[in-house]
């Protein structure tokens, strides 16, 4: 079964859209843009929406000044800019940790100093779509852990939800403060020729917001005049907005004590955890710092134990509490879930939210939105074939060469097969895995992700991009920061934007008007 969505972003006329082969280079059907300087070799490809240029090779109106300025930039200046950004990231330690077989290394996320521009109207569309989506997700989560109406009414197959590894029976009947299960959501959005579409919802522990802020700081320093000219909406207030969101969920009558729970120094997102804690002025705790006593959570301070009211946990459900979840976890605190159930501490996000970003449940999001909100989805889903269903499995196996196959609970670009890029042997091996455990997989068409200008090897070249905006949901409602992490597949022709897979990022400029 292919789950119906509101307007598929894939263009049936394009056959196998977005294949890596043939992407890049000035040959083929591509035309070169109307630039003569840094853009001299910038080749457009009719298969992909270009963020900066229209099909005629002229800059889009919102990008005109930026493209003209970049075109005039001498190559050596662009190189200096890029090096300056790299050096600053290196010195300031803006890194992510990579765990190898034998060693741990710190890597700098590659930053491209050319911003991507989104118009005010485009952003309004995205923002309202994000709010709608997160509202529906929170209602859906409340429902599946209480009455289960959506399951009884057949909106989502009950076995899909109840059999999902991320469904936490321990959460059944638990009163979640303000019914906010997901306080922080990150949504992966792509643009194709038919518009914006959601590729994934991340409602467990979405990361990347610190890179959004780091990219902004980098462009402000690198191209200050251009930034000023463009009237870009500000993102710097995110930590304060995050703090307010988290604090609003507490019932404490005094200023609630918020802390961030990190798995520790070797987690790939540790820089972000430390950055947010520093910006919000809250403690960055590890499991070993926490003690539960009389169903109350305390942090072990130098001056004794002190109560914590809200815990923004950046560890997976499994590790939150070894008494309730994984017994071998040393990352959480024994008894933490007990304190949570007793209402003595707020956990953000709540345990069990992973059901909503399961890639099979994702396929039902349009139906969930219609069911709970009685509205049409504002942001489209990508066509998704569920391998748990015989026709979905058959279609996937028959078209493996043309599809992307993903594990339903996977993330970070791991555990997936990009059919057009795989060898025959890899496809055969994956097909065997699909037959063995079909419920663990979904498949989607390879999307023709839009491309944006990036500074590569001394000139500006188009690269595929996506976008991850962050939505906050507190007691008083939702808040979307006007910006997001714009991820870039830096390898020519590649569609994989994950930093763990060679992706980088760039600043996203949301214009005021």
């Amino acid at each position: 079964m292919t789950v119906a969505t509101t307007g598929t972003p894939t263009d049936p006329a394009m056959g196998n859209p977005g294949f890596e082969t043939g992407d890049g280079g000035a040959g083929g059907n591509g035309s070169v843009v109307a630039g003569s300087g840094a853009f001299a070799d910038y080749a457009l490809d009719p298969r992909f929406h270009d963020e900066m240029f229209g099909g005629d090779g002229r800059p889009r109106e919102a990008c005109r000044r930026l493209s003209e300025a970049l075109d005039r930039f001498p190559a050596e200046e662009l190189i200096k800019l890029q090096e300056g950004v790299y050096r600053r990231f290196l010195h300031e330690g803006i890194t992510f940790t990579v765990l190898g077989a034998d060693e741990v290394s710190e890597q700098i996320i590659p930053i491209d100093c050319v911003p991507r521009v989104i118009t005010a109207a485009e952003w309004d569309h995205i923002e309202s779509g994000l709010k709608q989506r997160l509202t529906a997700i929170n209602l859906f989560l409340r429902d599946i852990y209480h009455e289960g109406r959506s399951l009884k009414d057949g909106v989502v197959p009950p076995d899909l939800v109840l059999g999902c590894p991320q469904y936490r029976v321990e959460m059944r009947g638990v009163k979640v403060p303000h019914d906010v299960y997901v306080a922080v959501g990150g949504t992966d959005i792509v643009r194709t020729d038919t518009g914006f579409a959601v590729l994934e919802d991340n409602v467990r522990v979405p990361s990347g917001v610190s890179y959004m802020l780091a990219c902004r700081a980098a462009t402000k320093r690198s191209v200050p005049a251009l930034y000023r000219e463009h009237a870009v909406r500000e993102v710097a207030g995110y930590p304060q907005r995050l703090y307010s969101t988290l604090a609003s969920l507490s019932s404490s009558t005094t200023r609630p004590r918020v802390a961030i729970l990190t798995p520790g120094r070797y987690n790939s997102a540790y820089y972000e955890h430390a950055f947010l804690a520093g910006e919000m002025g809250v403690d960055l705790v590890e499991g070993r710092d926490l003690v539960v006593h009389n169903a109350t959570l305390y942090a072990r301070m130098a001056s004794g134990l002190r109560r914590i009211d809200v815990l923004y946990r950046r560890i997976d459900d499994d590790f939150v509490d070894p008494v309730t979840f994984r017994r071998d976890s040393v990352l959480g605190a024994p008894g933490l879930f007990h304190a949570y159930r007793a209402g003595n501490v707020v956990l953000a996000n709540a345990p069990g939210t992973g059901v909503a970003d399961d890639k099979a449940v994702y396929a039902f999001l349009p139906r969930i939105i219609r069911y709970f909100l009685n509205e049409e989805p504002i942001l489209a889903n990508v066509d998704t074939h569920l391998c748990r269903e015989p026709e979905g499995l058959e279609f996937t196996l028959d078209n493996l060469r043309d599809l992307v196959v993903k594990e339903v609970g996977g993330s970070g670009g791991y555990g997936m097969l990009v059919g057009p890029h795989a060898t025959g042997r890899e496809r055969e091996e994956f097909a065997a895995r699909l037959r063995d455990n079909p419920t663990n997989y979904i498949s989607q068409p390879v999307l023709p992700l839009s491309r944006a200008g990036c500074f590569v090897d001394g000139s500006l070249q188009p690269r595929h991009v996506d976008l991850r905006p962050f939505t906050l949901h507190g007691a008083e409602g939702q808040d979307v920061v006007p910006g997001g992490l714009c991820r870039v597949a830096l390898r020519e022709g590649s569609l994989v934007v994950n930093s763990s897979q060679g992706g980088g990022c760039k600043d996203l400029w949301v214009l005021r008007s």
Binding site: H91, G93, A274
Partner: protein, 333 residues
Amino acid sequence: MLARVAADLYWMGRYIERTEHTARLLKYQLTGLVDAPADELALGWQVIYRALGQSPPMAPADVDEAEAFMMADAYTLAGSLVEDHTNPDSMVTCWGMARENATQLRPQLPLEVWTTLNRGFLWIRDCDFPAAWKKRPVTLVAEAVDRLRLLAGVVEATMSRDDVWRFLQLGRFVERFQHQTNLLRTWDRLGAPDGADPSLSWSDLLRVCVAFELYCRRHGMTAERDTVLEFLIRDPEVPRSLRFALERIEHMLVGIDPLGSSHPLVPPRRVALRLAATVEAATGSVTDRERREADDSHVTDHLFEHLAGDGSRLHDLLITEYVDYPVSEGLPS
């Protein structure tokens, strides 16, 4: 402040101080490579290695320690203290450990402190020691000293004087107290005992401790054992005197735990006060030549042993009091 954060700050302070101490000793020794006689250089290496608690270089079984240092080459001896990643006390290791602690402290530290520390670490990690040695042996450690002083200045200029600052300073001065105690003791016993040949000069000890100019202003240019030792133990205005370090330790302890500085005293404060009293009363035992000569057990050495023992106890008590305390004692009343 989280107990773990307090421990990280404390250790960060210790590692930075340790790196600076090693760099300063090496700077003195490598400067001497130009013109010092070979036996004096070997003695200098022996004193430095002993003061830093390092094992002497490998040598045949029938060779004593002094001879082992005569046989070893300066490049290897310096390299072990600068760039040897397997040596837990080498500069690159200690700098890396300080950075490791600082990584856990990103929310507490000003960006400038982190960046300066990180840049310094990346510099020493990536520096080409053999090439630097070939050019001029002392250059690299001299730059290390400069970078560490820059870091000290950035810390001074950017950090609020709260508990983050206090635990960092506490680590720094506990380390300094222990290192200086060891250095004074080693110089006195091994480097410049009465009538020894070769012998290190007391004015060089003052230079190692960056105290020569102040000493000259106070006592003239003649650097004699008794005056130098008393100066480096008791003068409250010399940054590397034992008393200076102890006064800072006391000051930090009072700030961290104002209640613990009145009765009943918390255990670390009690030991710090005892150390201060010992240093205060040290004059006679150090400089009373008759008493020293009459006493085979070597009064000065006893004093340093006592100071070293209490210094190490102070460290243990700080960890027990503020980091590893039993949970039952930490519950709010």
